[in-house]
């Protein structure tokens, strides 16, 4: 068992593109670390660098106390689950799992024991003689996991392993992966662009954007105290409402107000007929759309008199400028076109500098 440490890791492609611009973090022994971020943020590249599939331009990657920058992937004692599974199409399920062990010269009985154990854990025992083509997506996913498990590596690497599955299966497999990792207690690094997957799986969450780490920490800490507006809007669905404010804007209760961005999560807003709680914030909205999903209802409102509003969402197009989402429990909701007032208490406000960074604690 071993941890993984990245020290100022950088990757520059021959064309001069900086894919990874200096990343430091540490994954403790047995921890489940999730790298999350939008596509192109460098998370997969970083994972492939840990695997040894991409060279490291500078910095160090350390697995179990050994710097592995120059070590071949086969000798890093890692196992990887690929997004498209990368099963050997011409080999049976059994041989797919046994291949890596045979290449390492392991004795036959030991290989057999490990493959059967893994097959039992993953419930693919009856399929050992089948070819990947004869399996469903979920079964292929299990075989890919099996191939990683039998190796009993120091580190598991997962590259968006669930993204080819349908929604229901994805949730089921997500839970299974978590249970399996707990059971085997193997250090894992998991890449995904799905923030829900990230939140539910991670011991340590690393939010990446544009080749740098935006924030590292416990998922709930990150949810409650996002360090930047990028993290604020990327983690959590629907995303945090972000509205810029000008210096001295009296509606925003910040001491020594020098302008910035105000964030409120949709679930922290409540509808009221009165005024804002002391030190809180108040939005006057016109209801534009309603989404009822059963247990909760999302109200999309545009701010009255906010024509000059500017978008601050990290994902452009997600919310039109000046639009606010309010999340209400249950199914009751105002009518479309109705004017409503949404308020949030002071302790639920997130304040960022004008550049979207520099979170200010109230």
């Amino acid at each position: 068992m071993a941890g993984v440490t990245l020290r100022n890791v950088r990757k520059t492609y021959p064309g001069g593109v900086d894919a990874i611009k200096g990343v430091d973090f540490e994954v403790g022994d047995g921890q489940f670390c999730v790298l999350v971020g939008p596509s192109g943020c460098g998370k997969s590249t970083l994972l492939r660098m840990v695997a040894g599939l991409e060279t490291i331009t500078s910095g160090e990657i350390d697995i179990g106390g050994r710097v592995v920058n120059q070590v071949e992937p086969a000798d890093r004692d890692i196992a990887m689950v690929f997004q498209n599974y990368a099963l050997y199409p011409h080999m049976s399920v059994y041989n797919n799992m046994a291949y890596g062990l045979r290449n390492r010269g392991m004795a036959k009985p030991e290989i057999d024991k490990r493959v059967r154990e893994a097959a039992q854990i993953l419930e693919i025992g009856p399929m050992l003689d089948r070819k990947p083509k004869q399996l469903s997506g979920g079964q292929r996913q299990r075989v890919a996991m099996g191939r990683a498990i039998v190796r009993q590596p120091k580190v598991f690497l997962f590259d968006e392993p669930l993204s080819n599955l349908d929604a229901k299966l994805r949730i089921a497999m997500r839970v299974e992966i978590r249970k399996l990792q707990r059971r085997l207690n193997t250090t894992s690094i998991y890449v995904t662009h799905d923030q829900l997957e990230a939140m539910t799986l991670a011991d340590v969450l690393v939010v990446m954007n544009g080749g740098v780490v935006e924030q590292i920490g416990n998922p709930l800490d990150i949810y409650q105290k996002p360090a930047t507006t990028f993290v604020a809007s990327f983690i959590g669905a629907p995303p945090m409402n972000l509205t810029p404010f000008k210096p001295g804007d009296a509606s925003v209760p910040v001491p020594g107000n020098t302008g910035g961005i105000l964030g409120v999560r949709p679930e922290d807003l409540t509808l009221t007929t009165g005024s804002a709680p002391d030190g809180g914030v108040r939005y006057d909205l016109t209801v534009e759309a309603i989404e009822r999903v059963g247990a909760e209802t999302f109200v999309y409102g545009s701010r009255n008199g906010a024509k000059d509003a500017v978008a601050v969402s990290a994902k452009p197009g997600e919310l039109p400028p000046g639009e606010i989402i309010v999340r209400l429990p249950g199914q009751a909701a105002p009518a479309i076109g109705e004017r409503i007032v949404a308020v949030a208490p002071r302790d639920k406000l997130h304040i960022f500098g004008t550049d979207g960074r520099n979170r200010i604690e109230l």
Binding site: R48, A51, G52, L53, E72, P73, A74, I78, A79, M80, F82, Q83, N84, Y85, A86, L87, Y88, P89, H90, M91, Y99, G100, N103, R104, R147
Partner: protein
């Protein structure tokens, strides 16, 4: 659709059968002639039904030879053709899969130069450089040898391109998974790439076997000894003399024997054949 019912169908069936008849008639005639008496054929009154000389003619053709010019039994020619076709097919597949592997799965200086050097050979069949090639084969002492028959016909890029195209479709992750599983270049080639290429190799083999078997101009030049000639060359030598002396039943039996192996390959391995044909022309 509705219109396809009725008359239209009968017309289609009829046209197809006429086509098949046109395509098959010359061969049927050849077979019939090969079972008949030479005299009946020579005076222009052969029957359109098979005659009684089947065993006699084919025995003579295979093991004795025509009493015309060559006297070489067709059995020897068949063997020569077989060796040549197999050498061309297997040789080309072997050298092509290796070079395609290098070009696709390695990064090395002048990689694209090498690719283009091989690619250009796609354009020029051996016929356009026939005498210079003959001279080189002669200088290298390759006249009347199997390597002389096969090597110049191996020098082309079709198979390399096919393998390259196929290798490009192998997902990167498969190579990566292999590397993590501890496989180096040799193991990856042997354990993963070769098994995955099986169908392509088989399809290519079918096409190249037919191509090799049916070669004519090059074997005509490079073989001088009768015991080295291929069956295609042998046929022509049988009809060198004037009509009266040509042993038509033997010539026709030779024709049938000459087309039998490749035609069987096409019919028995039709799927592979079609695939090979379509893939190599891409």
């Amino acid at each position: 659709m509705v219109e396809n019912e009725g008359l239209q169908r009968y017309v289609a069936h009829a046209i197809l059968w006429i086509g098949i008849a046109i395509v098959a008639f010359p061969v049927y005639l050849a077979f019939v002639a090969s079972t008949q008496d030479n005299a009946a054929i020579a005076n222009g009154h052969m029957s359109l039904l098979p005659g009684g000389h089947f065993i006699e003619t084919y025995y003579k053709t295979l093991f004795v030879g025509s009493s015309g010019t060559t006297r070489e039994p067709v059995g020897t020619m068949l063997l020569n053709s077989l060796i040549m076709a197999l050498s061309i097919a297997l040789g080309k597949i072997a050298i092509s899969i290796l070079s395609a592997y290098a070009i696709v799965f390695f990064r090395f200086p002048f990689r694209m130069t090498v690719f283009w050097i091989i690619f250009i050979t796609l354009m020029l069949p051996v016929e356009v450089r026939i005498y210079p090639t003959y001279k080189i084969a002669a200088d290298l002492n390759l006249l009347d040898s199997y390597s002389g028959l096969a090597l110049p016909l191996i020098a082309s890029a079709t198979a390399t391109l096919l393998f390259r195209q196929f290798f490009m479709t192998v997902p990167d992750e498969l190579l990566e998974a292999s590397r993590i599983d501890g496989a180096g270049p040799f193991r990856f080639f042997k354990d993963t790439l070769l098994p995955l290429s099986r169908t392509n190799m088989a399809a290519l083999f079918v096409i190249l076997f037919i191509y090799g078997w049916n070669q004519y101009l090059w074997p005509l030049l490079i073989t001088t000894r009768d015991d080295m000639q291929t069956i295609q060359v042998g046929i022509r030598k049988m009809i060198v003399t004037s009509d009266a002396l040509t042993e038509w039943p033997v010539v026709m039996a030779t024709s049938i024997l000459a087309m039998l192996p490749p035609v069987l390959v096409v019919i028995v391995m039709q799927k592979l054949f079609v695939r090979g044909l379509v893939e190599t022309e891409k």
